[in-house]
Symmetry: C2
């Protein structure tokens, strides 16, 4: 593979030029400098064809999503993204595919002022590993482990839309509109940064609410009660015929990349201000409790059958991504 | 794939605990802090089966080499390694394979006090992407671009040994000893750090001397003259029957991961001291010249035929790794 040509192609499309990048692509390493008083957040996620995106997904969507899922991890910690590297394994050199991939990748990178500073291109089955870096003011990171009994559990945006799109895609249902949520999730960077001052714990919903909220509960050694009807569904989803199925997707489907967070009751006003400021719904879906485990109730208080088996079991059985 | 179990397995084997790692594996991101007055060097390399290591390579060697090639990039810039992430794509869950891989990876990580702080595990064709971070005192990085006419061109250790091993392996020649150089290259970390004060330019020899020295020449817009008989061969290689073949390997074979660097003449004494201090040969193989291009001569001054086609062409034709 003409590695250097590939690198050149990317270097040319890379329009973000940050002052803290002393040396970008083209030497043995990139060199960057950190602002004082900040921590560096680092995350890395791999996307494989057939596992993380269906075969036939457009190169543009793959490029976008490979970056988006990593920026989403930064958002969930309250980090401001700065630099990324890209390890791209391709079956063959396909200039058109690469241009589309680059377009998807860099469109999102430019939106968040993220600079591609290095990486590697190799020949092999399609696989993309992105590593992303971001800054957090010292001591302001939002971890998974801070949830306390009584805290409100909230989610940004809506849940289940990406799962619904995947379901329709797998069912061969043609849609006039592209799979916007599945392929183009919006990393909640601004929300994550604002939540530094509000949230006691946070995670991005990549594997489904039950699984991801479960990580917050495990990390904080707490439990939770969630009210099923409070789960935020998109308008598209509510137009669907089967409300029960929609709620199941909202509980178990991944790939929405919204932020699930907990906060003390005193921050309700701040959260309300935030959703107006960002024009992003923030929904209170339940509360943290002392007793371990996740209890999912209908409004009238009857626990759902699905919660009896424990969220882990349920999550493993139902997760649409097969992960 | 039982991703969390895999992560747990690695977390347990990860014995390095650095004070600058605020949060390691287990949250949305790792969090680290930088010492003041330093730059951060970042590099990322992918190894794919059948491309970067032959099928049948032991898991231990793959784990070692995946880290070694990245540390080698840090070494070539004069960086002190600190943190790494690992994106591991595996065809299936194989506990024995994973244990061996981890043993190879962490043995080297411990030797250089490098902490694994995150990563991702996915199911798919075997592929390993490591990203490595390291510190360089501000302004002390060794780039590829500083070579000046008159500078000495030097290499650490010996060249061609990994290429010879690959040749024998591909030829089906059984060896009693393992392929130590091909599978277990030594990243020249200590040398790289010491060279901050000496070298005008540096690169690690991953694709072969002609190709990699070529990058130094391109970056510095200079040329070079190299004397063939000065290339440092290992004792093992010199025992081989065909000296011409050995020199060809020393020129063109990759995977040795020695450092090729340039320095002003005034640093000869310092370089001599350094090779004693590190117990690592440093060999003067030629000099930088103003006229572009790489000229390879025999001692008596007759230019080699191979240089007439330009090093790039030659490199592409002969590189043993098929890259």
């Amino acid at each position: 593979m003409a590695e250097f040509k590939l690198i050149d192609r990317f270097r040319q499309r890379n329009k973000v030029q940050r002052k803290d990048v002393l040396q970008g692509i083209g030497d043995d390493c990139a060199r960057v400098e950190m602002p004082q008083g900040y921590e560096l957040a680092i995350t890395s996620d791999t996307l494989c064809e057939g596992v993380h995106f269906p075969q036939g997904t457009s190169a543009h969507a793959i490029g976008y999503k490979a970056l988006a899922v990593n920026l989403s991890d930064l958002a969930a910690m309250g980090a401001q993204p700065s630099w990324v590297t890209l390890a791209l394994t391709l079956p063959q050199h396909n200039a058109r595919w690469l241009d589309d991939f680059a377009e998807g990748f860099f469109t999102l990178a430019e939106r968040h002022n993220v600079q591609l500073i290095g990486g590697d291109t190799t020949q092999g089955p399609l696989s993309i590993t992105v590593q992303a870096h971001g800054f957090i003011p010292a001591g302001k990171a939002i971890t998974r482990s801070g949830a306390k009994p009584g805290d409100y559990i909230c989610v940004t945006g809506t849940l289940g839309q990406a799962g619904l799109e995947l379901l329709k895609l797998n069912g061969g249902i043609q849609r006039k509109t592209p799979y916007n949520r599945l392929n183009y999730p919006e990393p909640r960077i601004e929300a994550g940064i604002a939540l530094r001052e509000i949230a006691s714990a946070a995670i991005d919903v990549s594997d489904g609410l039950i699984a991801d909220l479960g990580h917050i509960l495990d990390a904080g050694q707490v439990g939770a009660r969630v009210v099923l009807e409070e789960l935020p569904l998109s308008v598209t989803m509510m137009q669907d015929q089967d409300p029960a199925k929609m709620l199941e997707l909202a509980l178990t489907a991944g790939d929405d990349y919204e932020i699930c967070f907990t906060m003390a009751e005193e921050h309700i006003d701040a959260a309300n201000d935030l959703q107006k400021e960002l024009n992003l719904p923030i929904k209170h879906i339940g509360n943290i409790e002392e007793a371990p485990g996740l209890r999912i109730h209908r409004k009238e208080g009857v626990p759902l059958e699905i919660s009896s088996g424990g969220y882990e079991h349920f999550s493993e059985k139902k997760n649409a991504r097969g992960k």
